[in-house]
Amino acid sequence: MNPVALLGRTFLDFLTTVGRLSMFTGRGVVHCFLPPVYPRLLLRQVIEIGYYSLPVVGLTAIFTGMVLALQSYTGFARFNAEGAIANVVVLSITRELAPVLTGLMVAGRIGAAMAAEIGTMTVTEQVDALTTLSTNPFKYLVAPRIIAAVLMLPLLVLVADIIGVLGGYVVSIHKLGFNPTVYLQRTWEFLEPLDVISGLTKAAVFGFLISLMGCYHGYHSKGGAQGVGAATTNAVVSASILILASNYLITELFFS
């Protein structure tokens, strides 16, 4: 094929995708604020996203906090700065690691599940059936997922903050021999509300991106099982990349 034509076609495909995604986002967001609300569906998504993600988020947070304390100690001991470990752990966890790692773990768990479920519904005409039964698929499928993810991600990150700091505390006290009172005191001294607020803001944005990517790729999947598989992969990959990119932008916004 002519390379110029290939470039042109790729660019047009890109523009088509951007346009389609923008329209999907607009419709999804609008339907979050318009009645009717489906409380049963919302509750189901809240439980699925919030409650069932707790184990994976908790385990990720505790091991991250533990490793962070251990690695910080190894590095800081060279400069006799072991006292800064509490500071490093709490700031790293609340500002960056808890929201980003929670976002990535939930993208893998929930983003994939959303894409697979909605994708299967699309290829088996269940989404069309919704329309013929006078039910808007955006209101029934997309809006409850977006609302639940935006509400639940900050709560999960709050839990991850606490468990992550706890992980650092456990290693610092029981393995590195820190004084518990001094460690907790330093943790509180260095922690500012903005650290937590920035992390929770990131979490809400990540929740939106994860649910949007899961729903978008599922909704536009085609071609049977292979199409649903591709939608699932694309949902997780695109959500992960968007999480990392938006993390930088939000950090700039809060701390630059």
Partner: protein, 259 residues
């Protein structure tokens, strides 16, 4: 009757996917209370026609009027209102996996009409009984149903809201001949009991003969013939003759994707 305005009037309908022209100026009128079956080979545009009427696809050009009201380009909330007149049985029933059978049947009542769940459940059980399924089937998950049962549940869901218009997409595909005839019989009964206007698409001639008042043949995105079901064997149309007799030779050229 013949002078009454059509329930659904389709004029000059065009729909293409890229360079592939699927509907090419199709005209069709569906009279109130009749059962029209559209026959035609695979890929001739039967499903696209149904999807355009339902608003699942937007036609490139042309007009579709339901009860005299233009539905092409209609706003989504108006479309939802028009869709309340419709019931649809999908090819593979398209039951919602996440809901039990009774909730599938009651879906249009609960979500579409805002009916109380307990009242909708009673209606769902009554509709399941109409298609020959007992209340115990209502508790099952769609995954536990056989192909014939899925079609029956799909039919019960289609008729649950008492629609004025019923669409059937390949109602007997994938069923054995006996179960196919059971479904055909149920379709005739449901359409008659509701007094509904029915549009079916199929390539199963036994099914078409059983459920149709009139039959239309679609070929290359246009209606090649339309007439009473009783006239199909003497249509005098070469396309119809080739199709109903299943002959490879004739004016219908199959795109078999050769080199």
């Amino acid at each position: 009757m013949a002078d009454a305005p059509p329930k659904i009037a389709i004029e000059n309908l065009h729909k293409s996917f890229g360079r592939k022209v699927v509907l090419d100026g199709l005209d069709l009128a569906l009279r109130e209370g009749e059962s029209l079956v559209v026959i035609g080979g695979s890929g001739t545009g039967k499903s696209v026609l149904l999807r355009c009427i339902l608003g699942l696809l937007e036609p490139d050009e042309g007009s579709i009027r339901v009860d005299g009201r233009e539905v092409v380009g209609m706003a989504p909330h108006e479309r939802e209102e028009v869709l309340r007149k419709f019931g649809m049985l999908f090819q593979n029933a398209a039951l919602f996996d996440s809901l039990p059978v009774w909730e599938n049947v009651a879906f249009g009542l609960i979500q579409g009409q805002g009916m109380e769940r307990s009242a909708a459940r009673k209606i769902a059980h009554a509709k399941l009984a109409e298609v020959g399924l007992g209340p115990e089937a209502g508790r099952l998950s769609p995954a536990e149903l056989s192909g014939g049962m899925r079609k029956r549940v799909g039919l019960a869901r289609a008729i649950a809201t008492g629609p004025e218009i019923l669409f059937f997409d390949e109602p007997t595909t994938g069923l054995d001949p006996i179960m196919g005839d059971v479904i055909n019989e149920l379709i005739v009964k449901c359409v008659r009991d509701l007094g509904a206007t029915a549009l079916s698409i199929t390539h199963d001639m036994a099914s078409a003969r059983r459920i149709a008042d009139r039959i239309a043949m679609i070929y290359k995105g246009r209606i090649a013939w339309v007439g009473a079901a009783s006239e199909i064997d003497n249509s005098g149309n070469d396309f119809v003759d080739q199709f109903i007799h299943g002959r490879a030779e004739g004016p219908i050229q199959l795109d078999i994707g050769g080199p």
